[in-house]
Amino acid sequence: MKSFEYGDREIGTTEVVYGVSNMVIGFGVLTLPRSLAAMTESSDGWISLMIGGGAALVFGWLIALLCARFPKMGLSDMTKAVANGAVANVVAMLFACYTFLFVGYETRGLANISKLYLFDRTPEEAICLFFLLVLAYGVAGPSAALLRLNLIFLPLVLIIVFLVLTMNITFFNMHNLKPLFVTDWQDTLKATKGTVFSFLGFEIFLFYNAWANRPKAMKKAILGGLAIPLFIYLIVFVFVIGIFGSEVTKNTLYPTAELAKQVEIPGGFFERFESIFFTIWVVTLFNTAAMAFDVTIIALRTLFPKPKRMTWVIWLCPLIYLVSMQPQSVTEIDTFGEWISYAGLAIGWCLPAVLLGVAKMRRIKGNEQAS
C-alpha cells in the first residue's frame, strides 16, 4: 500500500508552486495598485514592485534553503534541531498567532469587498459567518487536499485576471504610463514597503515542508511560485495605470475591481463583469485563508498534540469570527492588515533567515536519508 498511496500526506512540487502563488495572491492584486499609485508618481510604482518582489525572492530563497537543509521537517522541528524545544514552542506559538490573525484579517477583508460589490444590505457579520462555515469544512480535511485545491483554483483566478485585462485592452492608453522615472528614490523605497507586504504568506510552507516529497526541489518551487504573483502584480499595475491613469487609481478603493467594472462584454450575456470577477476572487481568498488556518492548526498541534484536528477547527472558528469583527471601518482593517504584515515580516521572513544563519554556523543539518 505504501508506494501506492499517492501522497495523501505528501506534497508534490507542483502543489508547492501553486500553493505559494495562491497564498501570495490575495488582496494584494486588489489594493496594491492604489497604494503604489498613491506613493509614487505616474507609473513608477513598478520599480517599487520589482524591489519588493526581489526582496521576496531573496527571502523565498532563504526559506527554501532552510527547507532543503531540513527535509521532512516542519518549522518546529527545525527550530528544535537548531536551538531547543522551548524556543521551538515559542516559535510555533508565534506562528500560530500570526496565521490565526491572518485568517481573521482575510475573512474580514473578504466580507468587506463582497459587501461593497455584491451586497447592499446583507450585514458583514453574516457574510463572515457563511465564509467561516465553508472555511471550517475546507480545513476539516487533510492538508494535502487543501494544497491540491490550489491546482484547481489558481488557474481559475489567472484566467479571470487575464480575461479582465484582455477585455480592457481597448481602453489601454500608453500615454497614461508616461512620464517614466520621475519619482524620487525615497518615495520609491517607501512604496516598496507595501509591495513587500503583498508578497507575504508563502512562509507557511516552512510547516508544509514536513510533507514535501522532494525537499531538494523546494527552492525551484518557491521561487517559481513567487514569480507568478510578481508577474501578475506587475501586469495588473501597468494595466491599471495605463487605463485609469495615476490620479484615478490613487482615488479608487479597489482599482482592479474597478477595471472589471468597466468591462462590457459585447453582446454578452452578462453585464457588470466585476461581480463575476469578484465572485471568482472569493475562491483565491478562500484558499489563502484555508491554508493559513491549516497552518495555525498544524502549529498548535505541535504544541498540544492531544486534541483532534476537528476540535481545533470547532474551537478556533468562533475566535476567528470574533477577531474578524473587531475592525470597525476600512481604515481600521487596513491598520490591522499592516500590523499583521509587520508580524509576518518578523516571524515569517526574518526569523527563518536567522535560523538558517545559526544552522549554518553550527553546521546543523536535518536528516539526510529523508531526502
Binding site: G7, F119, V134, G138, L149, I152
Partner: protein
C-alpha cells in the same frame, strides 16, 4: 436409516455407498422440491444401476437426455456385476468413457453435491460407490447479447453484458486475448452464493489496487447481493459523498478500455452491470464514443459535456442569483423583458425555481416507472404542465421554463446516469445557496464541492486526478481528446506498471 457418515456433526458429511439412502438424503436436504428430478437407470440394461439427480429448471434437459442417460444405457460393459472391475473402476470408467460431457467431477462431500445441484449440475449416484459424479449440465435461459439500453452509442460495438457471468467473462476475453488477463472469483452472499469476478490485467495494473480491492471484497458479508449496486456501496470509500466512486457500465468495451488503462473491474452474477474501479470525476464525463469518433469531434463532444455539467449544476442557481440579487448583471433589454415576464408571478425566484425543478424531477421519476404505453401520457401532461399551462396561469415566468428545460437536457447529457443524479441533487443545494446569498452563495457551494472532490478518493486514488494532483501528461486525454496517435501512454495517475500503450506513429521498435 443409518447415519454412518453424516452424524459427524462438526465436520463434513460424506456420501453413502447406498444409492437409495443417498436419494432419500438429497430429498430431505432440499425439502423434496417439485423441481428435483431423480432418475434411476440400470447401466447398459444390466444389474448395476445408478441414479441421476438434478433440478429441472436449472439443468439442460437435452444434454442430460442425449449425453448422459443415453450413454449410460449403452454402456453395457459397466452394467454387469461379474466383470471383475471394482466399483471405483466402474465409476471411473463411466466418467472417462461414457459421459460425453466436458465437465465431470468426482466428489464425496454432501456439501459439494448440494451446492452443485443448486447450481444446476447433475449428480450421479452409483450403487455402492463412495463417490458421486457431478456432471456439468448447468443451463440457464439466458438473454441474448443485446445492445445495452442504458448506454446506447451511435458508433461502437452493439454488445452488452448479460446476467450470466460466464458470458460476461467471455465478452471481456473476446476483446483482450492476453494471457495476463486475470479473473479472481469470489462467492458473495451467505445464502445466494453468487459468483463475483474481479478482473484486471496483471502487469498493467498497480498491484496495490488489486490488493486493496481484494481486501475490501473480502469484507463483504451479506446474505444476498441482488445487484452490483450492493457491492458498490459495500466497497466504496465514502458513503457520504453524492458522487459515485465506482463507475457502473453495461458495455464490455468500456470495461476492456478500463482494464487496459490499468483499472480493475468487478462483475457479479445476475446483473449486467459491471463496476470499474478506481474511478475519477473525469471518467464520469467521458464516453467510449469520444474515442470512436475522430478526435476533433470527440473533443468537441467532450467539451460540450463539461458545459453540460456546469449548466446542470449552476444554471438555475445563476438564474436565481441574477433575478433576485444582481439584476445589474443582466443586460439592459433582457432585464426588462424578464421583469415584464415576472410581473404577474406571485413567488420569488427561488420558490419558482424549486417548484419547477421539483416538478421536473417528479416527471422524470414517473416516466421511468410507468409502462411504455402510458409513459407517453406523462410526456404530454408534463409538457403541458411545465410549459404552456404554468406560464399561462402566471405561476412561473417563461424564462424559468427555458432554464428548467436546459438544465434537464444538460443533466441527461452526462453519460453516467448516477453522476447525472448526483449533479441534479447538488443543483438543489446551489439553488438554495443562491437564494440566500446570491452569487456569493453559488461560489461558496462551488468551493465546497471542489473541496469535497479533491478530498474524495476512490480505492486510494485521488478522485480529482489528473486535475489535482496534476498529471500533465494525462491532460491530452482530458478536456481535449488528442488524436489516437498521440495517446501513446497509459494514464499516469493510475501509476500503471506498464506505461506505453502504443508507439509513436510510424515508428516501430
Amino acid at each position: 436409516m443409518s447415519e454412518s457418515a453424516s452424524d459427524d456433526k462438526r465436520g463434513e458429511s460424506y456420501v453413502f455407498p447406498d444409492m437409495q439412502e443417498n436419494i432419500g438424503h438429497i430429498r430431505r436436504m432440499l425439502g423434496d422440491p417439485a423441481d428435483l428430478v431423480i432418475r434411476i437407470i440400470s447401466i447398459g440394461g444390466g444389474e448395476r444401476s445408478c441414479a441421476l439427480a438434478f433440478l429441472s429448471g436449472l439443468s439442460d434437459k437435452a444434454v442430460i437426455d442425449e449425453q448422459i442417460v443415453r450413454q449410460i444405457l449403452k454402456a453395457g460393459r459397466f452394467g454387469q456385476e461379474d466383470t471383475g472391475m471394482d466399483i471405483s473402476e466402474v465409476l471411473g470408467g463411466l466418467r472417462n468413457e461414457t459421459m460425453s460431457v466436458s465437465q465431470v467431477l468426482e466428489v464425496n462431500l454432501w456439501s459439494d453435491v448440494i451446492k452443485a445441484v443448486l447450481y444446476g449440475d447433475t449428480a450421479m449416484f452409483l450403487e455402492g460407490a463412495d463417490d458421486v459424479l457431478l456432471i456439468g449440465t448447468q443451463n440457464w435461459k439466458e438473454r441474448s447479447i443485446d445492445e445495452p439500453p442504458t448506454e446506447a452509442l451511435v458508433r461502437g460495438p452493439r454488445e452488452g453484458f448479460t446476467e450470466k457471468i460466464e458470458t460476461n467473462i467471455g465478452l471481456i476475453r473476446r476483446g483482450i486475448r492476453d494471457m495476463n488477463l486475470r479473473f479472481v472469483s469470489y462467492t458473495i452472499g451467505r445464502r445466494s452464493r453468487k459468483t463475483l469476478i474481479l478482473t484486471y490485467i496483471q502487469g498493467i495494473i498497480h498491484p496495490a489496487i488489486v490488493e486493496e480491492a481484494r481486501r475490501r471484497l473480502d469484507t463483504i458479508d451479506i446474505d444476498d447481493a441482488p445487484e452490483s449496486g450492493f457491492i458498490e456501496q459495500w466497497i466504496e470509500d465514502s458513503f457520504l459523498s453524492p458522487f459515485p466512486q465506482l463507475l457502473h457500465t453495461e458495455r464490455p468495451d468500456k470495461v476492456r478500455a478500463a482494464l487496459l488503462q490499468g483499472k480493475a473491474a468487478v462483475m457479479l452474477e445476475g446483473t449486467p452491470f459491471a463496476l470499474i474501479l478506481p474511478t475519477t470525476f473525469v471518467a464520469l464525463i467521458q464516453s467510449p464514443e469520444d474515442y470512436y469518433e475522430r478526435w476533433l469531434i470527440g473533443s468537441l463532444i467532450r467539451l460540450l459535456r463539461y458545459l453540460a455539467v456546469i449548466i446542470a449544476l449552476f444554471a438555475p442557481a445563476i438564474y436565481i442569483a441574477l433575478v433576485s440579487f444582481h439584476q445589474g448583471m443582466i443586460p439592459f433589454k433582457l432585464a426588462f423583458s424578464i421583469a415584464a415576464a415576472r410581473e404577474g408571478v406571485p413567488f420569488p425566484a427561488i420558490i419558482e425555481a424549486m417548484v419547477m425543478e421539483g416538478t421536473l424531477e417528479l416527471l422524470r421519476e414517473a416516466g421511468v416507472r410507468l409502462p411504455k404505453p402510458i409513459g407517453q401520457t406523462i410526456g404530454i401532461v408534463g409538457g403541458l404542465v411545465i410549459g404552456e399551462a404554468a406560464v399561462q396561469a402566471g405561476v412561473v415566468s417563461p424564462i424559468m421554463v427555458i432554464i428548467v428545460a436546459v438544465t434537464a437536457i444538460s443533466s441527461f447529457a452526462i453519460p453516467s446516469y448516477s453522476a447525472g443524479i448526483a449533479f441534479r441533487m447538488l443543483r438543489f443545494a446551489t439553488m438554495l445557496a443562491a437564494g440566500i446569498l446570491g452569487l456569493f452563495g453559488i461560489i461558496l457551494t462551488f468551493i465546497m464541492i471542489s473541496t469535497h472532490l479533491v478530498r474524495l478518493r476512490s480505492f486510494g486514488m485521488p478522485y480529482s486526478a489528473p486535475f489535482a494532483p496534476m498529471f500533465i501528461t494525462d491532460w491530452r486525454d482530458l478536456v481535449i481528446r488528442s488524436p489516437v496517435t498521440f495517446l501513446t501512454k497509459r494514464p499516469e495517475f493510475i501509476q500503471t506498471k506498464n506505461i506505453n500503450r502504443a508507439n509513436k506513429r510510424g515508428k516501430r521498435s
